[in-house]
Amino acid sequence: MENLEDLKSEILNKINAVTDLKGLDDIRVSVLGKKGQITDMMKSLGALPLEEKIALGKGLNILKSEVENAIEAQKKILEDKALNEKLATETIDVTLPVRPETQGRIHPVSKIYEEVVAIFGEMGFDVANGPDIEDQFHNFNALNMPANHPARQMQDTFYLNNDPTQPFDMDTAYVIRTHTSGMQIRTMEKQQPPIRIIAPGRTYRSDYDATHTPMFHQVEGLVIDKNITMAHLKGCLYDFMKAFFELDELPVRYRPSYFPFTEPSAEMDIGCLKTKTELKIGAGTDWLEVLGCGMVHPNVLRAGGINPDEYQGFAFGLGIDRLAMLKYGIPDLRTFFESDVRWLKHYGFTPLDFSSMTGGLSNNGGLAR
């Protein structure tokens, strides 16, 4: 039995000393293989007397199991070591940047459109669309602006010859709509009150300087019912402005103004603080004009086929581009239309930035990448 102890320590020493899996397997074969040391000894048991056979057999079985365990344990150690060595060679510099990908952008004009729709939608407004090329009836005459009305001169109108085979006639030509107010008429032609619509869209005037572009975006609003008063106009627009600028309080004031299609007419200012470097909406001593509005002129209701003795209401028009500039601090209107990819990336919104009154008006797309 002492031989077995010696053998055991000899084998275990060898196992513990081996440094690679191949060597370990060689040991396994030399000890436990078909012709291995322990196998041979077990084979030779048969020749021994019974008692010796039992005693030595038991010892050999224990030895075999101990050796097997030792090999397994060493195998695990060596495998771990080999894996670690392999992994060490596979090291990658994870500080390398990720593969290039471009996150797209939504233009501020679309973003403001969605915000405006979300807010007025909550107040029960529908969204109307109309043609960019308009006849003068819808763009002017029906809006209480007959051909020689001086207000037509306020709007530098683009004209389109309605019949290219004939000489141009300014009085019958089509115009490229100077406002989306024509949608008031197109809506009334289709629908009797109650009416609550906004009509967002492109508008065009022949004007090009630091604060004017020949195309810009407007939202026209129209509310007609039996008991709509100027107090509702003020309430509706105040609710809108507060929601749009995401402020709990917002100082506003109204100044009497003039639009042919409303009477009385007014312009709405919101309170702000202007400094050389920033514009803060909602505080301060300065005023910013944000929209024009008024009670719909009876002549306009009549032109739309609505009886002004029965129905009344208000209309307003606000500039989408201007709202974008004010809310998101975009300094120059002209840059909206220049398609400069640097500008689009900087002032644009992430693809997931949808707007909702209950889910959040802005900042829904996470940070821009």
Binding site: G104, Y159, A231, D239, P256, G348, L352
Partner: protein, 794 residues
């Protein structure tokens, strides 16, 4: 409309401050755009006297002054030529902020002599531009007083006058409105009736009393137009940006802005025969003061002598019979022309003038005689001369407008009650004749108001005087549950934008106009829709496609050093000139590479399949049929003929995609490849109202699907789509997917052939496939592809 404070006070007796006046103007609807008050930057400047003048010991053109402000004496070195002992001027002591330099004045030493302050020229204190001399004040000016007090500086106020308030295009109208708002009292006009000393030698006839209801003319002989206009008048005109020309011109300009009263003065010696007011003949020529010649039509109103039209009535005088420096006898015109006539003529001939601006809005029909008298008074006092009788053709007795206001309407219209008494008081102060008639307020407009036609107009007058801010703000009544507000089309357009942005493209917004030089290649057989009066040549056509603008944007971005561009726009394009002949396109372009080169090597150039993928994604986002689109290689001519396609649904084109034709890129000087797509969102069918939200039931097979590959040699002209369709057709139930995984054209294939390798997915239906089943399926595919495309197994 600009005016100065002193000019306003000529008409308004008030103690109100400049700020009070400015705030009130805005509150009552005369929006103040700017107040320029030079006095606001005169802090520190004081009046002072030069006690003594000595020559500078070391400089010929400099003097050393002793300046006295009443309490201190200062040594000042000064280079002005007009220095003299006893001169009283404006002195800036050390430390004063000089507006011209926006810097504080420091004590200096000039050529060895200390100078403690500065005697100022007008430019240095910001009240003029001259630097020739230091300011000289009258000798009785007190010294040591703030400069603003002794200089008599007149602040300039600019208000924006809406078209309905024509009377406020004169200072008097503004004064009247302020008086009505309680800011002072309107002073009476001090105009004497001019007594004629002789009969007007020029006969005046009016042939068109509808367009010219009143015409007055007065002959003034012996005037001297070489004298200078008085300082008070030129100061006021200068302050509002009108340069003095000659007394006769200055007087007409002054009355335009003082009383909103246009006038015209003819050189009577240049007139031939008598004066006739008549409509022009078609084709009649008129050379206006602006040196332009106009072709007149029969709606233009002319003031004519025997030689033709000498003045375009109410719009602009003529070149030939106007006043010059040598004019001695004049005919003064003060007349009423109808707004419609003036507006039409002015609009068609595109002439702008102060006169037209006033006439087409409203000129007080009762101001012809008074205007003539006032102008005569000014001409006689400034230029001398003798006035004739006033010839008046027509009558000033024009029926005033009447409107009624039901007092209770204020509450039901503006949401706030206003008593009848209060309303009547307001209207009365504004010059209306007010009375109660059957409980209604009857308001007769004053002659200077032409804009009051209905009850709402009167409500506006009451409201603007009460103040709009007094009206309460009440939220709109809302009894309905919020609903989806966008129509299906509007919703599609929005979702398509987000889809394309999520594909890494930037949304842009470009003009609805395009440059016809570029747009001509994109019209696809439509007529050009040209803008009659484009603002610039590059924006002269209503765009037939968004692509011309996007390509221009690509070009500009490349020029800025950004060659990789992926942008899109969802917006209208125009197919005809009539309202509504337009549709919404979702169009995009990609130029350059997916990214700049980087370590991963993943950047690649954009190709036609990017544009195709964009188009399909946009169609899918708009809920269109994207899965089995009919794609044919026949896009519009502005695409590469071999690298473009059309996606159709039946006859309708849903989209074009492809590489932009190189010849178009060449015209735009774009050197890189550009791929593009155009999806016509209006051609995508909207989902049926009845279709529910529930998904089709998902059927999942428990049996394993297997993939098998086959390669075919086909003619190069055979499309991939044909091979896929044929393979799918081999067994519509068991073959669930066919993919192309390799396309090879090379030397070891026969001429004109290519090899296309497809991968098929076989999905067993009832039991697992046996080898035999699979072999049968493969054979069916080989036979079908061979039959449909002539392909042979490679």
């Amino acid at each position: 409309m600009k005016f100065t404070l002193s000019w306003l006070k000529e008409h308004l007796d008030t103690n109100a401050t400049l700020n009070e006046i400015s705030d009130t103007l805005t509150r009552i609807g005369l929006e103040v755009e700017e107040v320029i008050n030079p006095a606001s930057q005169l802090g520190g400047f004081i009046s002072a006297k030069i006690d003594s003048v000595e020559k500078h010991p070391d400089a010929d053109h400099l003097h050393v002054l002793c300046v006295n402000d009443g309490t201190h004496k200062y040594q000042v070195v000064c280079g002005a030529p007009n220095v003299r002992e006893g001169l009283i001027g404006i002195f800036a002591p050390e430390g004063t902020l000089i507006p011209l330099f926006n810097e504080r004045l420091k004590k200096t030493t000039i050529r060895g002599v200390e100078s403690c302050g500065m005697m100022c020229a007008v430019d240095e204190i910001g009240i003029g531009s001259s630097h020739d001399a230091i300011i000289e004040l009258p000798s009785d000016t007190p010294i040591g007083k703030p400069a603003a007090d002794v200089l008599n500086i007149d602040p300039v106020i600019e208000v924006s006058i809406t078209p309905n308030r024509a009377e406020c295009l004169g200072v008097r109208g503004i004064a009247r409105d302020l008086a009505a708002a309680g800011l002072g009292t309107l002073k009476p006009l001090n105009i004497q009736k001019s007594e004629g000393k002789f009969a007007n030698p020029i006969k005046i006839g009016v042939e068109c009393p509808t367009e010219c209801p009143v015409y007055t003319g007065r002959y003034i002989k012996g005037v001297n137009n070489k004298v200078k206009s008085p300082k008070w008048m030129t100061d006021r005109l200068n302050a509002i940006g009108i340069h003095s020309i000659s007394p006769l011109v200055d007087i007409t300009n002054y009355l335009n802005y003082d009383l909103a009263r246009p006038l015209h003065v003819f050189d009577a010696d240049k007139l031939t025969g008598n004066l006739t007011v008549r409509m022009a003949h078609n084709g009649e020529k008129f050379k206006a003061l602006n040196d332009k010649e106009y072709d007149l039509t029969d709606y233009c109103l002319g003031i004519c002598d025997d030689e033709g039209v000498q003045c375009l009535g109410g719009i602009m005088g003529g070149m030939e019979k106007g006043c010059s420096e040598d004019t001695t006898n004049v005919l003064l015109e003060c007349a009423l022309f109808k707004p419609e006539c003036i507006a039409k003529t002015g609009r068609h001939l595109q002439i702008d003038s102060d006169s037209r601006y006033r006439y087409e809005r409203w000129v007080d029909p009762k101001s012809n005689i008074i205007g003539s008298d006032y102008a005569t008074q000014l001409i006689l006092s400034i230029c001398g001369g003798t006035a004739s009788d006033l010839t008046i053709v027509g009558s000033e007795n024009i029926e005033p407008q009447v409107a009624y206001l039901r007092p209770e309407r204020l509450e039901t219209f503006i949401g706030m009650p206003v008593s009848a008494d209060k309303s009547m008081e307001i209207l009365r102060k504004l010059g209306f004749e007010v009375s109660l008639e059957n409980g209604k307020i009857k308001a007769v407009s004053p002659s200077w108001r032409g804009d009051i036609e209905c009850e709402q107009d009167l409500i506006e007058e009451v409201v603007r005087m009460i103040g709009l801010d007094e009206i309460p703000a009440i939220s709109l009544p809302n009894n309905t549950f919020p609903k989806e507000v966008l129509s299906a089309e509007q919703h599609n357009a929005m979702i398509v934008k987000h889809e394309l942005a999520s594909r890494g493209m930037y949304e842009t917004v470009t003009w609805s106009f395009a440059d016809s030089d570029i747009a001509q290649y994109f019209r696809c057989g439509h007529d050009a829709i040209m803008v009659q009066n484009p603002i610039v040549k590059e924006l002269d056509e209503m765009r037939p496609s968004i692509l011309p603008n996007l390509l221009t944007a690509v070009k500009n971005n490349i020029a800025r050093g950004y060659p990789n561009v992926a942008i899109f726009e969802v917006a209208p394009v125009f197919t005809g000139r009539n309202p509504g002949e337009q549709h919404i396109d979702a169009s995009g372009v990609r130029a350059g590479s997916t990214a700049k080169k980087d370590w991963s090597g993943s950047a690649r150039e954009y190709d036609v399949f990017d544009a195709k993928a964009d188009a399909i994604a946009a169609i899918a986002a708009a809920k269109g049929p994207f899965e089995n689109p009919q794609i044919t290689p026949d896009a519009q001519s502005y695409y590469h003929p071999g690298r473009s396609g059309t996606i159709r649904l039946g006859k309708n084109v849903l989209a074009y995609f492809g590489e932009i034709h190189p010849s178009i890129l060449k015209k735009l000087d774009i050197k890189s490849r550009v791929v593009a797509f155009e999806v016509n969102l209006n051609n995508i069918p909207l989902p049926r109202q009845s279709s529910g939200k529930a998904r089709k039931k998902l059927e999942l097979s428990q049996l394993q699907a297997i993939d098998k590959d086959l390669a075919f040699v086909v003619d190069k002209t055979v499309s991939a789509a044909a091979i896929i369709a044929a393979a799918k057709n081999a067994d519509r139930n068991l073959i669930t997917d066919v993919r192309i995984f390799d396309v090879y054209e090379g030397s070891n294939l026969p001429e004109g052939k290519k090899s296309v390798a497809i991968s098929l997915t076989f999905q067993p239906a009832e039991q697992t496939f046996t080898d035999k089943d699979i072999e049968n399926l493969m054979n069916k595919v080989i036979v079908e592809v061979g039959k449909k495309t002539g392909g042979e197994l490679r």
